[in-house]
C-alpha cells in the first residue's frame, strides 16, 4: 500500500531530445491512475521511469514516501505488466509466476500457496504446467497479471496490457483488471492510448501530449470540462466539434455574451447537438449539408459540412477538419445524404477555448 508522487520529473535523452518536460502528479493509496495520450507523447517512458527501467534526468519519483530515483527496479516494490507480456518462454506458467518469489528467497510452501491463489483468481489452475507458447493471447495476459499479483507489490504498473488482444477480449479483460484492482486495493498506474479504456478504468486520468500533462482529474470532469482543445478532441469518440468563433454565423448568434468579443474556438460535443428546425434561444444553430452517415445500431453519426464555412484539412490527427461537424443522434433514423439540416446546441453545452487552444474560457 503506497501512494506515488511525481515531482517535476524530466527526461532528456543523450541526443538532446526532451521526452518528458516536467511532470507533477500524485496517485493516492489504492487509486487507479491512467496515463493516456497519442503515441509518442511520453506516457510509456514515464511509466518506465517509475519502474526504474529508464533513468530520471531531473525531478523526483516517490513511492510510498521513499524517493526511488536511484533505486533498482527490483527494490522499488513494484510489478509491471508489459504490452507483449514478456513471459519467460522457457518456463512453465507456474515457474513464470514463482520466479520473482524465488529470487527473493521466499520459502517454498509460501511460493506454492501464493501461486495457487493467483492461479485460482485468474482461472489458470489447469494451465500451471504449460509453457507460454501453448496458451492463447488472453491466457498469456492472465499469466502476466499473475506474475504481478503473486509478488503483492506496493504498486502495479501496466504498459498497454490489452493492446495485443482482440476487441471482445479487450473489453472483458478491462473489466477484470478493474475488479482485480479493487479487490487487491493496490495503487496502479496504467498506460494506454485508448481513450475508452482510460475513461472506464481511471480514478485519476492524466492526459498527456508532447511530454507534458494536458489535464489531470476525474475522467468525467475531464470529459465535461476539457482544459484544452487537445483534451477536447482526444477524450470522447467521436471527437468534440471545434469551430472558430470569428465566423460570422457563430458570432451573430452569440451576440450579447462575453464570448462574442473573444477570438477563440467554440467546442460542441457531437451528442449535444440536436437536429431541429428551431433557432436555439441563447444557444447555437448550425446549418449543415449531410456528407456521410455512420450507423452503429444504437446511435448514428452524421457528418455534415457547414454551408457558411470553407472546408479544409484537419490541423492535428484526431481532430476534425475545419468546416466539418459531427452530430450524434440516438437510433438509426437519419436524414439522407445531401439533405440540408439544422443542428442546435443549448448554451450550457458550449465550450469555449482561447485561439491557441491552450486555455479554457468559462462562458
Amino acid at each position: 500500500m503506497a501512494n506515488v508522487v511525481l515531482r517535476n520529473v524530466r527526461k532528456t535523452y543523450a541526443g538532446g531530445f526532451e521526452a518528458i518536460k516536467g511532470i507533477n502528479f500524485e496517485v493516492g493509496d489504492g487509486q487507479f491512475c491512467v496515463l493516456v495520450g497519442p503515441s509518442g507523447c511520453g506516457k510509456s517512458t514515464l511509466l518506465r521511469m517509475v519502474a526504474g527501467l529508464e533513468t530520471v534526468t531531473s525531478g523526483e519519483i516517490d513511492i510510498g514516501g521513499r524517493i526511488v530515483n536511484a533505486i533498482e527496479p527490483a527494490d522499488r516494490d513494484i510489478a509491471m505488466v508489459f504490452q507483449n507480456y514478456a513471459l519467460y518462454p522457457h518456463m512453465s506458467v507456474y515457474n513464470n509466476m514463482a520466479y520473482g518469489l524465488r529470487n527473493r528467497g521466499m520459502p517454498k510452501p509460501e511460493i506454492e500457496s501464493r501461486v495457487q491463489d493467483a492461479a485460482r483468481i485468474l482461472e489458470l489452475g489447469a494451465m500451471l504446467d504449460r509453457k507460454p507458447r501453448q496458451l492463447s493471447g488472453g491466457q498469456r495476459q492472465r499469466v502476466a497479471m499473475g506474475r504481478a499479483i503473486v509478488r503483492q507489490p506496493k504498486v502495479f504498473l501496466f504498459d498497454e496490457p490489452l493492446s495485443n488482444l482482440d476487441a471482445k477480449l479487450r473489453i472483458a479483460m478491462r473489466v477484470e483488471i478493474r475488479k482485480l484492482q479493487r479487490r487487491l486495493n493496490t495503487t496502479s498506474i496504467y498506460v494506454t492510448h485508448d481513450q475508452l479504456e482510460a475513461m472506464t478504468l481511471a480514478d485519476i486520468l492524466v492526459v498527456m501530449n508532447g511530454g507534458q500533462v494536458e489535464q489531470i482529474g476525474n475522467p468525467l470532469d475531464i470529459y465535461q470540462k476539457p482544459a484544452t482543445t487537445f483534451v477536447a478532441s482526444f477524450i470522447g469518440a467521436p471527437p468534440m466539434n471545434l469551430l472558430p468563433l470569428r465566423s460570422d454565423e457563430i458570432k451573430s448568434q452569440l451576440e450579447g455574451s462575453a464570448a462574442a468579443n473573444e477570438a477563440g474556438l467554440l467546442g460542441i460535443r457531437p451528442e449535444d447537438l440536436v437536429i431541429s428546425s428551431d433557432s436555439a434561444a441563447g444557444g447555437i444553430a448550425l446549418d449543415l449539408t449531410v456528407e456521410a452517415i455512420e450507423r452503429v445500431g444504437a446511435e448514428t453519426f452524421i457528418y455534415g459540412s457547414r454551408r457558411h464555412e470553407a472546408q479544409g484539412v484537419a490541423a492535428n490527427p484526431g481532430e476534425l477538419p475545419p468546416g466539418e461537424v459531427i452530430v450524434r443522434i440516438p437510433g438509426a433514423i437519419a436524414p439522407a445524404i445531401g439533405e440540408r439540416i439544422r443542428a442546435v446546441a443549448p448554451r450550457e453545452k458550449l465550450h469555449l477555448f482561447s485561439v491557441d487552444g491552450r486555455k479554457r474560457i468559462e462562458l
Binding site: A51, F82, Y99, R133
Partner: protein, 293 residues
Amino acid sequence: MEKSAFFNGKLLPYLLLVPQLTITFVFFYWPASQAVRQSFLREDAFGLSSEFIGLENYQALFAQPEYYKAMLTTLVFSTLVAALSLSIALLFATQADKNLKAAPAYKLFMIWPYAVAPAVAGVLWFFMFHPTLGTLARPLRWMGFDWNPLLNGNHALILVVMAAVWKQISYNFLFFLAGLQSIPKSVIEAGAIDGAGPMRRFWTIVFPLLSPTTFFLLVVNVVYVFFDTFGIIDAVTGGGPAGATTTMVYKVYADGRLGGDLGSSAAQSVVLMAIVIALTAIQFRYVERKVQY
C-alpha cells in the same frame, strides 16, 4: 499458414530435386564410398594394383599404440577448443550486446579473424610464438618460462589450441550475438523487476533462451575441431613434436599422403566418419532434448 504448390506431373518434383541430389552424390556419397572401399584394399608400392584384404587394415590400425595416442590428443584438443571458443565467444557477445558507443567497431574487429585462412592463421601463431623469433615468446622466456613449442609437446598443443580457438571465436561470436539480439528486451526487464541480478538473469533467462544457438554451435564446433583444424595444425606444428599434436584427421593425412599407406588412411577416415556421425547423433538425441522451448 504456409502455402504449398501442387504439381500434377510425377516427374517435375524429381527433376527439381536432381541438382541437389547430384551435388550430394558427387561430392559426398561417392568419395565416402570410395574411402570405405579403399579401406578394405591393399595397394602395391607402385599403385598399379590392389587386392582385397578384408579387415586387415582395421586390425593393423587398432594394433598401433600411436592411433590411441592420436585419439587421446583429439579428445583433449577438441574438448579444449570447443569449450574455450564457445565460452569466450559468449563472453564477448554479451559484452557487445550492451549499448556501447563503440559496439559497431567492436563487432567488426571481432569478426575479422574469421576472414583469415586457417593455414595463414597457423603461420601467424607459429611466428608469434616461435621460441627464438616470436614476439610473444620472448616476454614468456624473459619471465623465466621455458617456452618451446618446437620441443615440448604440451607447449605445442597449447599453441595449436590457442590458434584454433582464436580462429573459431569470430564465428561463434557472430551467432551468439544474433541469438542475444533476438531475445526480447522486455523479458530481460521483467527479470530485473522480478528481482534477478545481472548474473542470475544471465543464467536463468538469457542462457536458456540462447540454447538453440548454443546447440547449433556445439554441433558445428565439434565438426570444426575434428576436420577443419587440419590447416592450423599443419602450419603450426606439422603434427609434432613427436606426434604430440597429431589429431586423428592429421594422422589420416600423415599416413596416407606422407606415409603412402592409402589403405590405413582410408580405414582411419572411415573410423573418423563414424565417430563424427555418432557424436552428432548423440548431440541431437540427448542435448537437443534439453534445448529449451
